[in-house]
Protein backbone atom coordinates (compact mmCIF):
# COMPACT_ATOMS: atom_id res chain seq x y z
CA UNK A 1 0.00 0.00 0.00
CA UNK A 2 1.59 3.30 -1.01
CA UNK A 3 1.17 6.20 1.35
CA UNK A 4 1.97 9.57 -0.10
CA UNK A 5 2.10 11.58 3.09
CA UNK A 6 4.72 12.06 5.76
CA UNK A 7 2.58 12.08 8.88
CA UNK A 8 -0.73 10.32 9.21
CA UNK A 9 -1.45 12.63 12.12
CA UNK A 10 0.24 15.65 13.57
CA UNK A 11 -0.68 17.96 16.48
CA UNK A 12 0.78 21.45 16.82
CA UNK A 13 0.67 23.43 20.06
CA UNK A 14 -2.57 21.78 21.12
CA UNK A 15 -4.18 23.08 24.31
CA UNK A 16 -7.28 21.78 25.99
CA UNK A 17 -8.94 23.33 29.01
CA UNK A 18 -11.86 21.93 30.92
CA UNK A 19 -12.98 25.03 32.73
CA UNK A 20 -9.90 25.97 34.76
CA UNK A 21 -8.28 22.57 34.42
CA UNK A 22 -5.50 22.52 31.84
CA UNK A 23 -5.64 18.98 30.44
CA UNK A 24 -3.21 19.61 27.58
CA UNK A 25 -0.62 22.38 27.63
CA UNK A 26 0.79 22.87 24.14
CA UNK A 27 1.18 19.34 22.81
CA UNK A 28 3.37 18.75 19.75
CA UNK A 29 2.88 15.20 18.58
CA UNK A 30 3.19 13.40 15.30
CA UNK A 31 2.75 9.90 13.93
CA UNK A 32 4.59 8.84 10.77
CA UNK A 33 2.81 7.06 7.95
CA UNK A 34 4.07 3.65 9.03
CA UNK A 35 5.13 4.29 12.58
CA UNK A 36 4.06 2.68 15.83
CA UNK A 37 4.19 5.32 18.55
CA UNK A 38 3.98 4.30 22.17
CA UNK A 39 2.16 6.99 24.11
CA UNK A 40 3.11 6.52 27.73
CA UNK A 41 1.87 8.29 30.80
CA UNK A 42 0.20 7.85 34.14
CA UNK A 43 -3.49 8.04 34.78
CA UNK A 44 -4.64 11.60 34.28
CA UNK A 45 -1.55 12.58 32.30
CA UNK A 46 -3.68 13.58 29.31
CA UNK A 47 -3.49 10.48 27.11
CA UNK A 48 -7.24 10.07 26.89
CA UNK A 49 -7.74 13.75 26.11
CA UNK A 50 -5.27 13.44 23.24
CA UNK A 51 -7.09 10.40 21.88
CA UNK A 52 -10.41 12.17 22.20
CA UNK A 53 -9.11 15.05 20.11
CA UNK A 54 -7.58 12.73 17.50
CA UNK A 55 -10.81 10.81 17.12
CA UNK A 56 -13.12 13.79 17.03
CA UNK A 57 -14.80 13.27 20.40
CA UNK A 58 -14.00 16.90 21.24
CA UNK A 59 -12.09 19.84 19.82
CA UNK A 60 -9.01 21.42 21.38
CA UNK A 61 -9.25 24.84 22.99
CA UNK A 62 -6.33 26.01 20.86
CA UNK A 63 -3.91 24.51 18.39
CA UNK A 64 -3.87 22.74 15.06
CA UNK A 65 -4.09 19.17 13.87
CA UNK A 66 -3.14 17.68 10.50
CA UNK A 67 -4.37 14.39 9.09
CA UNK A 68 -2.28 13.04 6.22
CA UNK A 69 -0.57 16.45 6.12
CA UNK A 70 -3.88 18.24 5.65
CA UNK A 71 -5.11 20.69 8.23
CA UNK A 72 -8.23 19.62 10.14
CA UNK A 73 -11.11 22.03 10.43
CA UNK A 74 -12.36 21.26 13.93
CA UNK A 75 -15.75 22.78 13.25
CA UNK A 76 -16.45 19.85 10.91
CA UNK A 77 -14.51 17.15 12.67
CA UNK A 78 -16.33 14.46 14.67
CA UNK A 79 -16.27 10.74 15.39
CA UNK A 80 -17.96 9.80 12.15
CA UNK A 81 -15.61 12.02 10.15
CA UNK A 82 -12.64 10.39 11.85
CA UNK A 83 -13.86 7.00 10.66
CA UNK A 84 -14.29 8.30 7.16
CA UNK A 85 -10.76 9.70 7.33
CA UNK A 86 -9.55 6.22 8.24
CA UNK A 87 -8.73 6.77 11.87
CA UNK A 88 -10.04 3.93 14.01
CA UNK A 89 -9.88 3.36 17.75
CA UNK A 90 -9.87 0.05 19.55
CA UNK A 91 -11.17 0.78 23.01
CA UNK A 92 -10.15 -0.67 26.31
CA UNK A 93 -13.57 -2.08 26.91
CA UNK A 94 -14.65 -4.30 24.07
CA UNK A 95 -16.54 -2.82 21.15
CA UNK A 96 -17.90 -6.23 20.21
CA UNK A 97 -21.34 -7.79 20.62
CA UNK A 98 -20.74 -10.66 23.09
CA UNK A 99 -23.46 -13.04 21.98
CA UNK A 100 -23.02 -12.43 18.28
CA UNK A 101 -20.88 -14.52 15.94
CA UNK A 102 -17.57 -13.07 14.80
CA UNK A 103 -18.66 -12.57 11.19
CA UNK A 104 -21.50 -10.29 12.32
CA UNK A 105 -19.10 -8.36 14.53
CA UNK A 106 -16.78 -7.56 11.64
CA UNK A 107 -19.52 -5.98 9.56
CA UNK A 108 -21.96 -4.51 12.05
CA UNK A 109 -22.86 -1.02 10.89
CA UNK A 110 -21.17 -1.63 7.51
CA UNK A 111 -22.87 -4.81 6.28
CA UNK A 112 -22.28 -6.37 2.89
CA UNK A 113 -25.81 -6.42 1.57
CA UNK A 114 -27.75 -7.77 -1.35
CA UNK A 115 -30.89 -5.95 -2.41
CA UNK A 116 -33.32 -4.46 0.13
CA UNK A 117 -30.83 -4.54 2.98
CA UNK A 118 -30.56 -8.31 3.21
CA UNK A 119 -27.11 -9.36 4.37
CA UNK A 120 -24.90 -11.34 2.03
CA UNK A 121 -23.92 -13.85 4.68
CA UNK A 122 -21.76 -16.01 2.45
CA UNK A 123 -19.69 -13.02 1.39
CA UNK A 124 -19.42 -11.67 4.94
CA UNK A 125 -18.22 -15.03 6.24
CA UNK A 126 -15.62 -15.31 3.48
CA UNK A 127 -14.33 -11.83 4.20
CA UNK A 128 -14.35 -12.53 7.94
CA UNK A 129 -12.19 -15.57 7.32
CA UNK A 130 -9.84 -13.48 5.19
CA UNK A 131 -9.54 -10.91 7.97
CA UNK A 132 -8.84 -13.54 10.62
CA UNK A 133 -6.31 -15.56 8.65
CA UNK A 134 -4.58 -13.06 6.40
CA UNK A 135 -4.84 -9.71 8.16
CA UNK A 136 -4.34 -10.63 11.79
CA UNK A 137 -3.07 -14.20 11.57
CA UNK A 138 -5.65 -15.50 14.01
CA UNK A 139 -4.74 -18.89 15.47
CA UNK A 140 -7.36 -19.50 18.12
CA UNK A 141 -7.97 -23.20 18.50
CA UNK A 142 -11.52 -24.13 17.66
CA UNK A 143 -12.50 -20.55 16.92
CA UNK A 144 -14.36 -20.05 13.65
CA UNK A 145 -16.19 -17.14 12.09
CA UNK A 146 -19.36 -18.66 13.55
CA UNK A 147 -18.02 -18.61 17.12
CA UNK A 148 -19.56 -16.04 19.40
CA UNK A 149 -17.40 -13.35 20.95
CA UNK A 150 -18.15 -14.74 24.42
CA UNK A 151 -15.93 -17.72 23.57
CA UNK A 152 -12.89 -15.54 22.92
CA UNK A 153 -10.22 -14.56 25.41
CA UNK A 154 -9.51 -10.90 26.10
CA UNK A 155 -6.52 -10.82 23.78
CA UNK A 156 -8.42 -12.48 20.98
CA UNK A 157 -11.18 -9.88 21.31
CA UNK A 158 -8.62 -7.12 20.89
CA UNK A 159 -7.38 -8.99 17.82
CA UNK A 160 -10.87 -9.09 16.30
CA UNK A 161 -11.32 -5.38 16.89
CA UNK A 162 -7.89 -4.65 15.37
CA UNK A 163 -8.73 -6.86 12.38
CA UNK A 164 -11.96 -4.98 11.86
CA UNK A 165 -10.11 -1.66 11.85
CA UNK A 166 -7.52 -3.00 9.41
CA UNK A 167 -10.10 -4.44 7.08
CA UNK A 168 -11.86 -1.13 6.83
CA UNK A 169 -8.53 0.24 5.71
CA UNK A 170 -7.70 2.48 8.63
CA UNK A 171 -4.47 4.40 8.11
CA UNK A 172 -4.11 4.99 11.82
CA UNK A 173 -5.27 2.59 14.50
CA UNK A 174 -5.32 3.85 18.07
CA UNK A 175 -5.08 1.15 20.71
CA UNK A 176 -6.20 2.39 24.10
CA UNK A 177 -4.59 0.29 26.87
CA UNK A 178 -5.06 -2.93 24.89
CA UNK A 179 -3.28 -5.19 27.39
CA UNK A 180 -4.98 -4.07 30.58
CA UNK A 181 -6.17 -7.06 32.65
CA UNK A 182 -4.77 -9.68 30.26
CA UNK A 183 -2.68 -12.71 31.12
CA UNK A 184 0.90 -12.91 29.80
CA UNK A 185 -0.08 -15.26 26.98
CA UNK A 186 -2.92 -12.95 25.96
CA UNK A 187 -0.59 -9.95 26.00
CA UNK A 188 1.65 -11.69 23.48
CA UNK A 189 -1.34 -12.20 21.20
CA UNK A 190 -2.21 -8.52 21.30
CA UNK A 191 1.40 -7.55 20.65
CA UNK A 192 1.44 -9.87 17.64
CA UNK A 193 -1.72 -8.28 16.32
CA UNK A 194 -0.08 -4.89 16.79
CA UNK A 195 2.93 -6.00 14.74
CA UNK A 196 0.49 -6.89 11.95
CA UNK A 197 -0.60 -3.27 11.87
CA UNK A 198 3.00 -2.19 11.25
CA UNK A 199 3.62 -4.95 8.68
CA UNK A 200 0.59 -3.88 6.69
CA UNK A 201 2.05 -0.40 6.28
CA UNK A 202 -0.31 1.38 8.68
CA UNK A 203 0.39 3.58 11.63
CA UNK A 204 -0.52 2.94 15.24
CA UNK A 205 -0.70 4.89 18.46
CA UNK A 206 -0.27 2.43 21.29
CA UNK A 207 -1.38 3.87 24.58
CA UNK A 208 -0.21 2.15 27.71
CA UNK A 209 1.54 2.51 31.00
CA UNK A 210 2.93 -1.00 30.93
CA UNK A 211 6.44 -0.24 29.66
CA UNK A 212 7.58 -3.80 28.84
CA UNK A 213 4.58 -4.21 26.53
CA UNK A 214 4.95 -0.95 24.66
CA UNK A 215 8.65 -1.47 24.33
CA UNK A 216 8.18 -4.64 22.29
CA UNK A 217 6.09 -3.05 19.57
CA UNK A 218 6.68 0.69 19.39
CA UNK A 219 9.23 2.43 17.14
CA UNK A 220 9.24 5.53 19.29
CA UNK A 221 8.07 6.46 22.77
CA UNK A 222 6.37 9.68 23.71
CA UNK A 223 6.01 10.30 27.40
CA UNK A 224 3.34 12.65 28.60
CA UNK A 225 2.91 14.02 32.08
CA UNK A 226 0.35 16.47 33.43
CA UNK A 227 -0.59 17.67 29.99
CA UNK A 228 2.91 18.10 28.62
CA UNK A 229 5.21 15.96 26.50
CA UNK A 230 8.23 15.41 28.70
CA UNK A 231 10.31 12.99 26.65
CA UNK A 232 10.56 11.53 23.18
CA UNK A 233 12.83 8.54 22.50
CA UNK A 234 13.53 6.51 19.41
CA UNK A 235 13.67 2.85 20.23
CA UNK A 236 17.35 2.64 19.32
CA UNK A 237 18.19 5.50 21.71
CA UNK A 238 16.99 3.75 24.83
CA UNK A 239 16.91 0.24 26.26
CA UNK A 240 13.92 -1.25 28.03
CA UNK A 241 15.73 -0.95 31.37
CA UNK A 242 16.54 2.70 30.76
CA UNK A 243 13.00 3.49 29.71
CA UNK A 244 11.64 1.61 32.69
CA UNK A 245 13.89 3.38 35.17
CA UNK A 246 13.18 6.71 33.50
CA UNK A 247 9.46 6.19 34.05
CA UNK A 248 10.02 4.93 37.56
CA UNK A 249 12.22 7.89 38.46
CA UNK A 250 9.70 10.18 36.90
CA UNK A 251 6.77 8.87 38.88
CA UNK A 252 8.76 8.85 42.15
CA UNK A 253 9.74 12.46 41.63
CA UNK A 254 6.13 13.21 41.06
CA UNK A 255 5.13 11.52 44.29
CA UNK A 256 7.95 13.30 46.12
CA UNK A 257 7.00 16.63 44.61
Amino acid sequence: MSRNYKHVLKMERVYKYFGKVEALKGIDFEVGANEVVGLIGDNGAGKSTMVAIMTGVFSPTRGAMYIRDEKVDFRHYNVRKAHRWKIETVFQQSSLGEKQPLWRNFFIGRQVTKSLGFINIKKEKELAQHIMLDLIGFRGAGITVDSTVSKLSGGERQGIAIGRAMYFDADLIILDEPTVALSLKEVQKVLNFTRKIKESGRACVYISHTIPHVYQVADRFVIIDRGEIVANFQKNEISLEELDSFMLKYSTEQVAG
Binding site: Q100, I108, F118, E126
Partner: protein, 345 residues
Protein backbone atom coordinates in the same frame (compact mmCIF):
# COMPACT_ATOMS: atom_id res chain seq x y z
CA UNK B 1 -1.13 -29.78 11.34
CA UNK B 2 -2.11 -26.22 12.07
CA UNK B 3 -5.67 -25.24 11.68
CA UNK B 4 -6.01 -23.71 8.25
CA UNK B 5 -9.67 -22.88 8.03
CA UNK B 6 -11.80 -20.84 10.34
CA UNK B 7 -15.06 -21.14 8.51
CA UNK B 8 -17.15 -23.31 10.73
CA UNK B 9 -19.94 -25.45 9.47
CA UNK B 10 -22.37 -26.63 12.10
CA UNK B 11 -23.10 -30.03 10.82
CA UNK B 12 -26.14 -32.23 11.25
CA UNK B 13 -28.75 -31.75 13.92
CA UNK B 14 -27.05 -28.80 15.56
CA UNK B 15 -28.05 -26.70 12.60
CA UNK B 16 -31.76 -27.01 13.29
CA UNK B 17 -32.94 -23.88 15.09
CA UNK B 18 -34.74 -24.47 18.38
CA UNK B 19 -34.41 -28.22 18.14
CA UNK B 20 -34.84 -28.91 21.89
CA UNK B 21 -38.19 -27.17 22.06
CA UNK B 22 -39.39 -28.89 18.90
CA UNK B 23 -38.65 -32.19 20.63
CA UNK B 24 -40.47 -31.00 23.74
CA UNK B 25 -43.51 -30.24 21.59
CA UNK B 26 -43.36 -33.67 19.98
CA UNK B 27 -43.18 -35.28 23.42
CA UNK B 28 -46.18 -33.24 24.61
CA UNK B 29 -48.28 -34.17 21.59
CA UNK B 30 -47.35 -37.86 21.87
CA UNK B 31 -48.22 -37.74 25.57
CA UNK B 32 -51.66 -36.36 24.75
CA UNK B 33 -52.10 -38.92 21.98
CA UNK B 34 -51.63 -41.60 24.60
CA UNK B 35 -53.57 -39.94 27.41
CA UNK B 36 -56.46 -38.68 25.25
CA UNK B 37 -56.41 -40.70 22.03
CA UNK B 38 -60.05 -40.05 21.15
CA UNK B 39 -59.21 -36.34 20.87
CA UNK B 40 -55.57 -36.18 19.81
CA UNK B 41 -55.68 -38.85 17.14
CA UNK B 42 -58.30 -36.90 15.21
CA UNK B 43 -57.72 -33.95 12.88
CA UNK B 44 -60.41 -31.80 14.51
CA UNK B 45 -58.30 -30.77 17.51
CA UNK B 46 -55.42 -29.70 15.27
CA UNK B 47 -57.83 -27.66 13.18
CA UNK B 48 -58.95 -25.96 16.39
CA UNK B 49 -55.35 -25.15 17.31
CA UNK B 50 -54.71 -23.73 13.86
CA UNK B 51 -57.67 -21.40 14.22
CA UNK B 52 -56.94 -20.16 17.78
CA UNK B 53 -53.13 -20.16 18.01
CA UNK B 54 -52.38 -17.72 15.13
CA UNK B 55 -53.49 -14.59 17.04
CA UNK B 56 -51.20 -15.08 20.07
CA UNK B 57 -48.61 -16.52 17.68
CA UNK B 58 -48.37 -13.34 15.61
CA UNK B 59 -48.09 -11.31 18.81
CA UNK B 60 -45.39 -13.63 20.11
CA UNK B 61 -43.43 -13.36 16.85
CA UNK B 62 -43.35 -9.58 17.11
CA UNK B 63 -42.53 -9.77 20.79
CA UNK B 64 -39.58 -12.03 19.98
CA UNK B 65 -37.92 -9.19 18.08
CA UNK B 66 -38.72 -6.73 20.87
CA UNK B 67 -37.21 -9.04 23.49
CA UNK B 68 -34.20 -9.73 21.27
CA UNK B 69 -33.57 -5.97 21.34
CA UNK B 70 -33.53 -6.13 25.13
CA UNK B 71 -36.90 -4.39 25.40
CA UNK B 72 -40.40 -5.50 26.36
CA UNK B 73 -43.90 -4.58 25.17
CA UNK B 74 -46.83 -4.94 27.55
CA UNK B 75 -49.24 -2.88 25.48
CA UNK B 76 -50.15 -5.31 22.70
CA UNK B 77 -53.28 -6.66 24.45
CA UNK B 78 -54.68 -3.14 24.34
CA UNK B 79 -53.96 -3.01 20.59
CA UNK B 80 -55.99 -6.22 20.15
CA UNK B 81 -58.88 -4.29 21.68
CA UNK B 82 -58.18 -0.87 20.14
CA UNK B 83 -57.43 -1.95 16.56
CA UNK B 84 -60.18 -4.56 16.79
CA UNK B 85 -62.57 -1.78 17.69
CA UNK B 86 -61.32 0.45 14.88
CA UNK B 87 -61.88 -2.41 12.44
CA UNK B 88 -65.33 -3.42 13.74
CA UNK B 89 -66.64 0.11 14.13
CA UNK B 90 -65.51 1.25 10.67
CA UNK B 91 -67.00 -1.86 9.12
CA UNK B 92 -70.27 -1.37 10.93
CA UNK B 93 -70.44 2.31 10.02
CA UNK B 94 -69.22 2.25 6.40
CA UNK B 95 -69.91 -1.34 5.32
CA UNK B 96 -66.47 -1.39 3.72
CA UNK B 97 -63.90 -4.03 4.56
CA UNK B 98 -60.49 -3.06 3.13
CA UNK B 99 -60.47 0.48 4.44
CA UNK B 100 -61.14 -0.77 8.02
CA UNK B 101 -58.32 -3.28 7.59
CA UNK B 102 -55.89 -0.53 6.62
CA UNK B 103 -57.16 1.65 9.45
CA UNK B 104 -56.75 -1.17 11.97
CA UNK B 105 -53.14 -1.77 10.85
CA UNK B 106 -52.47 1.97 10.95
CA UNK B 107 -53.95 2.31 14.43
CA UNK B 108 -51.73 -0.52 15.66
CA UNK B 109 -48.72 1.08 13.99
CA UNK B 110 -49.59 4.38 15.64
CA UNK B 111 -49.72 2.88 19.13
CA UNK B 112 -46.40 1.17 18.41
CA UNK B 113 -44.90 4.43 17.15
CA UNK B 114 -45.94 6.18 20.35
CA UNK B 115 -44.31 3.39 22.36
CA UNK B 116 -41.17 3.69 20.27
CA UNK B 117 -40.95 7.45 20.70
CA UNK B 118 -41.48 7.18 24.45
CA UNK B 119 -38.75 4.56 24.74
CA UNK B 120 -36.17 5.79 22.22
CA UNK B 121 -36.63 9.56 22.30
CA UNK B 122 -38.06 10.38 25.74
CA UNK B 123 -36.07 7.58 27.34
CA UNK B 124 -38.76 5.89 29.42
CA UNK B 125 -37.95 2.23 30.11
CA UNK B 126 -40.09 0.14 27.79
CA UNK B 127 -41.68 -1.87 30.59
CA UNK B 128 -43.14 1.34 32.05
CA UNK B 129 -43.96 3.11 28.79
CA UNK B 130 -45.89 0.13 27.47
CA UNK B 131 -47.54 -0.59 30.82
CA UNK B 132 -48.92 2.94 30.66
CA UNK B 133 -49.90 2.36 27.04
CA UNK B 134 -51.75 -0.82 27.97
CA UNK B 135 -54.02 1.13 30.37
CA UNK B 136 -54.33 4.11 28.06
CA UNK B 137 -55.36 2.35 24.87
CA UNK B 138 -57.62 -0.24 26.45
CA UNK B 139 -59.21 2.58 28.43
CA UNK B 140 -59.72 4.63 25.29
CA UNK B 141 -61.28 1.59 23.60
CA UNK B 142 -63.84 1.25 26.39
CA UNK B 143 -64.67 4.97 26.16
CA UNK B 144 -65.04 4.92 22.36
CA UNK B 145 -67.05 1.72 22.22
CA UNK B 146 -69.31 2.76 25.07
CA UNK B 147 -68.22 -0.38 26.86
CA UNK B 148 -70.32 -2.49 24.53
CA UNK B 149 -69.59 -5.48 22.36
CA UNK B 150 -70.15 -4.87 18.64
CA UNK B 151 -71.59 -7.69 16.60
CA UNK B 152 -70.37 -7.79 12.99
CA UNK B 153 -71.94 -11.09 12.01
CA UNK B 154 -72.43 -9.97 8.39
CA UNK B 155 -68.70 -9.85 7.77
CA UNK B 156 -68.81 -13.63 7.46
CA UNK B 157 -70.20 -13.10 3.95
CA UNK B 158 -67.38 -10.80 2.86
CA UNK B 159 -64.34 -11.87 0.86
CA UNK B 160 -62.01 -10.45 3.55
CA UNK B 161 -63.36 -13.08 5.94
CA UNK B 162 -62.62 -15.91 3.52
CA UNK B 163 -59.19 -14.53 2.75
CA UNK B 164 -57.97 -14.20 6.33
CA UNK B 165 -59.94 -16.68 8.43
CA UNK B 166 -61.72 -18.92 5.89
CA UNK B 167 -61.22 -22.67 5.84
CA UNK B 168 -59.03 -23.62 2.90
CA UNK B 169 -60.48 -26.76 1.32
CA UNK B 170 -62.99 -26.69 4.12
CA UNK B 171 -60.43 -27.86 6.67
CA UNK B 172 -57.36 -25.62 6.92
CA UNK B 173 -57.86 -22.31 8.77
CA UNK B 174 -56.43 -19.51 6.59
CA UNK B 175 -55.07 -17.62 9.60
CA UNK B 176 -52.44 -20.28 10.23
CA UNK B 177 -51.11 -19.65 6.72
CA UNK B 178 -50.96 -15.91 7.42
CA UNK B 179 -49.23 -16.44 10.75
CA UNK B 180 -46.72 -18.74 9.07
CA UNK B 181 -46.05 -16.14 6.38
CA UNK B 182 -45.43 -13.58 9.13
CA UNK B 183 -43.08 -16.03 10.85
CA UNK B 184 -41.08 -16.63 7.67
CA UNK B 185 -40.77 -12.92 6.95
CA UNK B 186 -39.72 -12.13 10.51
CA UNK B 187 -37.23 -15.00 10.48
CA UNK B 188 -35.55 -13.48 7.45
CA UNK B 189 -35.64 -10.03 8.99
CA UNK B 190 -34.08 -11.19 12.25
CA UNK B 191 -31.47 -13.54 10.81
CA UNK B 192 -30.71 -12.21 7.37
CA UNK B 193 -31.47 -8.51 7.34
CA UNK B 194 -29.52 -5.49 8.50
CA UNK B 195 -32.48 -4.40 10.66
CA UNK B 196 -32.46 -7.75 12.48
CA UNK B 197 -28.71 -7.56 13.05
CA UNK B 198 -29.12 -4.10 14.52
CA UNK B 199 -31.83 -5.47 16.84
CA UNK B 200 -29.50 -8.24 18.00
CA UNK B 201 -26.60 -5.88 18.68
CA UNK B 202 -28.83 -3.39 20.51
CA UNK B 203 -30.13 -6.21 22.69
CA UNK B 204 -26.62 -7.46 23.24
CA UNK B 205 -25.11 -4.11 24.16
CA UNK B 206 -26.65 -0.84 23.03
CA UNK B 207 -23.39 1.06 23.58
CA UNK B 208 -21.48 -1.31 21.30
CA UNK B 209 -24.23 -0.94 18.70
CA UNK B 210 -23.92 2.83 18.91
CA UNK B 211 -20.14 3.00 18.52
CA UNK B 212 -20.22 0.59 15.59
CA UNK B 213 -22.55 2.88 13.70
CA UNK B 214 -26.04 1.52 14.41
CA UNK B 215 -28.76 4.13 14.67
CA UNK B 216 -30.13 2.83 17.96
CA UNK B 217 -32.92 5.36 18.24
CA UNK B 218 -34.35 4.83 14.76
CA UNK B 219 -34.08 1.05 15.07
CA UNK B 220 -36.05 1.04 18.34
CA UNK B 221 -38.77 3.32 16.95
CA UNK B 222 -39.13 1.07 13.90
CA UNK B 223 -39.18 -2.02 16.07
CA UNK B 224 -42.02 -0.86 18.31
CA UNK B 225 -43.95 0.36 15.27
CA UNK B 226 -43.55 -3.06 13.68
CA UNK B 227 -44.77 -4.71 16.88
CA UNK B 228 -47.82 -2.44 16.94
CA UNK B 229 -48.62 -3.16 13.29
CA UNK B 230 -48.42 -6.90 13.89
CA UNK B 231 -50.73 -6.55 16.90
CA UNK B 232 -53.14 -4.58 14.68
CA UNK B 233 -53.10 -7.45 12.19
CA UNK B 234 -53.67 -10.00 14.97
CA UNK B 235 -56.60 -7.87 16.17
CA UNK B 236 -58.20 -8.05 12.71
CA UNK B 237 -57.78 -11.84 12.57
CA UNK B 238 -59.38 -12.25 15.99
CA UNK B 239 -62.27 -9.89 15.26
CA UNK B 240 -62.91 -11.61 11.92
CA UNK B 241 -62.78 -15.10 13.42
CA UNK B 242 -65.21 -14.14 16.17
CA UNK B 243 -67.28 -11.81 13.96
CA UNK B 244 -67.66 -9.77 17.12
CA UNK B 245 -65.71 -7.06 18.85
CA UNK B 246 -65.78 -6.96 22.63
CA UNK B 247 -63.99 -4.44 24.83
CA UNK B 248 -61.87 -6.88 26.77
CA UNK B 249 -60.61 -8.84 23.81
CA UNK B 250 -56.90 -9.56 24.05
CA UNK B 251 -57.09 -9.20 27.82
CA UNK B 252 -55.83 -12.68 28.60
CA UNK B 253 -53.10 -12.69 25.97
CA UNK B 254 -50.26 -10.88 27.71
CA UNK B 255 -49.00 -13.73 29.84
CA UNK B 256 -49.56 -16.57 27.40
CA UNK B 257 -47.78 -14.62 24.65
CA UNK B 258 -44.81 -13.90 26.87
CA UNK B 259 -44.82 -17.54 28.01
CA UNK B 260 -44.71 -18.68 24.36
CA UNK B 261 -41.69 -16.47 23.62
CA UNK B 262 -39.72 -17.68 26.63
CA UNK B 263 -40.73 -21.33 26.24
CA UNK B 264 -39.44 -20.98 22.69
CA UNK B 265 -35.99 -20.13 23.96
CA UNK B 266 -35.63 -16.38 23.42
CA UNK B 267 -33.62 -14.91 26.26
CA UNK B 268 -35.02 -12.10 28.40
CA UNK B 269 -31.50 -10.63 28.43
CA UNK B 270 -31.70 -9.70 24.76
CA UNK B 271 -29.16 -10.16 21.99
CA UNK B 272 -30.72 -13.36 20.74
CA UNK B 273 -34.11 -14.54 19.64
CA UNK B 274 -35.55 -17.55 17.92
CA UNK B 275 -38.52 -17.26 15.59
CA UNK B 276 -38.80 -21.02 15.18
CA UNK B 277 -38.77 -21.43 18.96
CA UNK B 278 -41.54 -18.87 19.36
CA UNK B 279 -43.59 -20.57 16.65
CA UNK B 280 -43.38 -23.91 18.42
CA UNK B 281 -43.71 -22.31 21.86
CA UNK B 282 -46.99 -20.71 20.82
CA UNK B 283 -48.38 -24.07 19.74
CA UNK B 284 -47.21 -25.64 23.00
CA UNK B 285 -49.05 -23.03 25.05
CA UNK B 286 -52.08 -23.31 22.76
CA UNK B 287 -52.19 -27.10 22.96
CA UNK B 288 -51.83 -27.51 26.69
CA UNK B 289 -55.30 -26.44 27.77
CA UNK B 290 -57.11 -28.64 25.25
CA UNK B 291 -54.81 -31.53 26.02
CA UNK B 292 -55.21 -31.23 29.76
CA UNK B 293 -59.00 -31.04 29.53
CA UNK B 294 -59.16 -33.91 27.03
CA UNK B 295 -56.95 -36.00 29.30
CA UNK B 296 -59.60 -35.58 31.98
CA UNK B 297 -57.54 -33.55 34.45
CA UNK B 298 -59.98 -30.66 34.31
CA UNK B 299 -59.43 -27.03 33.41
CA UNK B 300 -58.15 -26.18 36.88
CA UNK B 301 -54.88 -27.84 35.98
CA UNK B 302 -54.18 -25.71 32.93
CA UNK B 303 -52.39 -22.80 34.57
CA UNK B 304 -50.42 -25.06 36.82
CA UNK B 305 -49.13 -27.08 33.90
CA UNK B 306 -48.42 -24.06 31.69
CA UNK B 307 -46.33 -22.71 34.56
CA UNK B 308 -44.55 -26.02 34.93
CA UNK B 309 -43.77 -26.20 31.20
CA UNK B 310 -42.55 -22.60 31.19
CA UNK B 311 -40.17 -23.14 34.09
CA UNK B 312 -38.88 -26.45 32.78
CA UNK B 313 -38.44 -25.10 29.25
CA UNK B 314 -36.53 -22.02 30.36
CA UNK B 315 -34.38 -24.15 32.69
CA UNK B 316 -33.64 -26.34 29.69
CA UNK B 317 -32.68 -23.34 27.56
CA UNK B 318 -30.45 -21.93 30.27
CA UNK B 319 -28.68 -25.26 30.70
CA UNK B 320 -28.26 -25.68 26.95
CA UNK B 321 -27.39 -22.04 26.37
CA UNK B 322 -23.76 -22.58 27.28
CA UNK B 323 -22.29 -23.59 23.97
CA UNK B 324 -25.34 -23.21 21.74
CA UNK B 325 -25.26 -25.44 18.68
CA UNK B 326 -23.00 -28.07 20.07
CA UNK B 327 -25.01 -28.42 23.22
CA UNK B 328 -28.13 -29.15 21.24
CA UNK B 329 -26.35 -32.13 19.77
CA UNK B 330 -25.27 -33.14 23.25
CA UNK B 331 -28.83 -32.78 24.42
CA UNK B 332 -29.96 -35.14 21.70
CA UNK B 333 -27.41 -37.67 22.76
CA UNK B 334 -28.60 -37.28 26.31
CA UNK B 335 -32.18 -37.88 25.24
CA UNK B 336 -31.34 -40.81 23.00
CA UNK B 337 -28.72 -42.37 25.19
CA UNK B 338 -28.25 -45.40 23.00
CA UNK B 339 -25.80 -43.58 20.74
CA UNK B 340 -23.13 -45.60 19.04
CA UNK B 341 -19.58 -44.84 20.05
CA UNK B 342 -18.85 -42.11 17.54
CA UNK B 343 -15.47 -41.34 16.03
CA UNK B 344 -15.56 -37.83 17.46
CA UNK B 345 -15.42 -38.67 21.17
Amino acid sequence: MKQTTVIGQNRGLGRIEALPIILVYVVIVITFMISAPETFLKYRIYQAFMSTVPVPLILALGLTLVVAAGEIDLSFPSIIAFSGFVFAALYKITGQTWMPLIAALASGAFVGLVNGLLVAVVGIPSIIATLGGQFLWSGLTVILSGGLAWNIRDIRNESIHTLFVGRIGGILPAQVIWATVVAVILWFILNRHRFGEHILFIGDNAEVARVTGVNVRRTKILLFTLMGTLAGFAAVLLTLEMATFWTTQGGGMLLITMAAVFIGGTSIFGGEGTIVGTYVGSFIVGSLEAGIVATGLGGFWTRFIVGLVLILAVALHVLLGRGKNLSEVRFLRFVFKKRKSGPDS
